[in-house]
Symmetry: C2
Subunit: 296 residues, 2 copies
């Protein structure tokens, strides 16, 4: 299954790349550097895990793949904007991202701020467009869910907690909440989006949400492990920054062994939530395995 | 009429203040500084011109005032986020805004970046909420229009042009395009929003759009004039920054006299577009006069 998953991830990555490039063309106008920075920040990179979750949760309900790809691109715009702003000197001051200079290093700080703002705004424009779904109620639900997942009570709130974590020591409860907000909510949206697009029944939406919740935490624990165990060559980004900043992470609180055991438990639990879909959710179950086995 | 307008502006400002405070409460959670910065950045300040335009364009069509106030608050979230990011050290490096320290001076840079991100995201959450309008089609149209007005082809694109203007000399055509994008599009959205909420006929929407177009340019020309003629005490912000940065503005291109004449012509032309609404648009006509007469 992991071989099939890798092929499917590669296929999705290609389709997402094409969709993003189509939605976000270059321009000849004087503001061209903005669009270059937006494209630089969200093309040529990443596992495209979130769009993959959108596509494969949507396929459970027979949703048109082009619609799901648009939603996948929108999630990726939000994910990439958050990386661009997170990498700014005033935030994490990242130099490398996916093996290339970060946006503010390749362009400049002001352009990076605006490119992030532009991508975030564009995500909502794409979701609200009738091409994403014929039913305006579905489109509004997508906008609402993405805004909640990425705003002050979601991802942006998690980034704020992450800043505070540099000078306060959080316990396991607050660290879990931080990570659920910072990365978990957007992963949860990606899985829920398929259910929204497919007008899924409440029990099905609940199963997807529970899966996403466990998957997101497992994902983050492994991210923390890779920050300690990984190399810059493997991960394509600067490693060891959490420890350097003295931040509480799952690894610093639980230790490496217990952290890995916890990630593996969450991965199995995530897959178990999908039993109601029977064989149709095998790809999503494989993602849960992949997330804890990855080296980048 | 200007006395009535001033009373109406003050009344709207109070209602907007209340709506924003209600929509965006403080929190006791660890991420509290984020919400404090978001509130600091959009409470206690400003003329609330954009919400006023939403309310009074909506009232032409008998739209419920609470719905219009929510849309007015959403526009203000976007306007205030743009000021917060524009004031950052990497952008305009503003120290004062509405007579108080800018958000990054009052909090810190990272918090200001996140507060801006949070406000932008929240604007879309508010628009997509069923409380804003019962018809999901109307809500989607609002999201689309706001995203277009504020994204890379709207406000954010205009901010990019503004950065480029620091080291390139734009002609009158590009300067006009810059200003239409940077401030005009959001003003245009504010006027269009009433038409969207009220399901206005195409001719009515067209009239509102034409009004907003001329109003926005007049507004910006006067902003440029105030940057040259105004004092920090009057405007509540640092003045003379455009000249210092060597930026082409309407004033540097046209000279003060022709710039003022142009603003006055645009103001009269803006009001003329509203003739189809007969007496019902008197308040919007008065705004066009107010915009060129203001000292802040």
């Amino acid at each position: 299954m992991q071989t099939e998953l890798k092929a499917a991830l590669a296929e999705t990555a290609t389709a997402v790349e094409r969709t993003i490039s189509h939605l976000l063309p270059s321009t000849e106008m004087a503001e061209a550097p903005l669009f270059e920075a937006m494209r630089y920040g969200c093309l040529n990179g990443g596992k495209r895990l979130r769009p993959f979750l959108v596509l494969h949760s949507a396929s459970l309900f027979g949703v048109n793949a082009d619609c799901a790809l648009r939603v996948g691109a929108a999630v990726e715009f939000v994910h990439c904007y958050s990386l661009i702003h997170d990498d700014l000197p005033a935030m994490d001051d990242g130099e490398l991202r996916r093996g290339r200079p970060t946006v503010h290093r390749q362009f400049d700080e002001a352009t990076a701020i605006l490119a992030g703002d532009g991508l975030l705004t564009f995500a909502f424009e794409v979701l609200a467009d009738p091409e994403t779904h014929e039913d305006p109620n579905v489109r509004c639900q997508l906008v609402t869910a993405l805004a909640k997942a990425s705003g002050g009570r979601g991802m942006v709130g998690g980034q704020m907690l992450d800043l505070i974590a540099e000078h306060e020591t959080f316990d396991l409860g607050t660290t879990t909440r931080l990570q659920r907000m910072k990365t978990g909510e957007l992963i949860a949206f990606s899985c829920e989006a398929g259910g929204i697009l497919g007008k899924a029944a409440p029990a099905q939406r609940h199963a997807l949400r529970a899966y996403a919740h466990d998957l997101g935490l497992a994902f983050q624990i492994v991210d923390d492990l890779l920050d300690v165990e990984g190399t810059q060559e493997e991960t394509g980004k600067t490693v060891g920054r959490d420890a350097q900043a003295g931040k509480a992470t799952f690894v610093s609180i639980l230790g490496r062994e217990r952290a890995r055991a916890q990630a593996e438990m969450l991965s199995r639990q995530a897959a178990a939530h999908l039993e109601i879909f029977e064989g149709r959710a095998d790809m999503l179950k494989a993602v849960a395995e992949f997330v804890v086995a990855r080296r980048a």
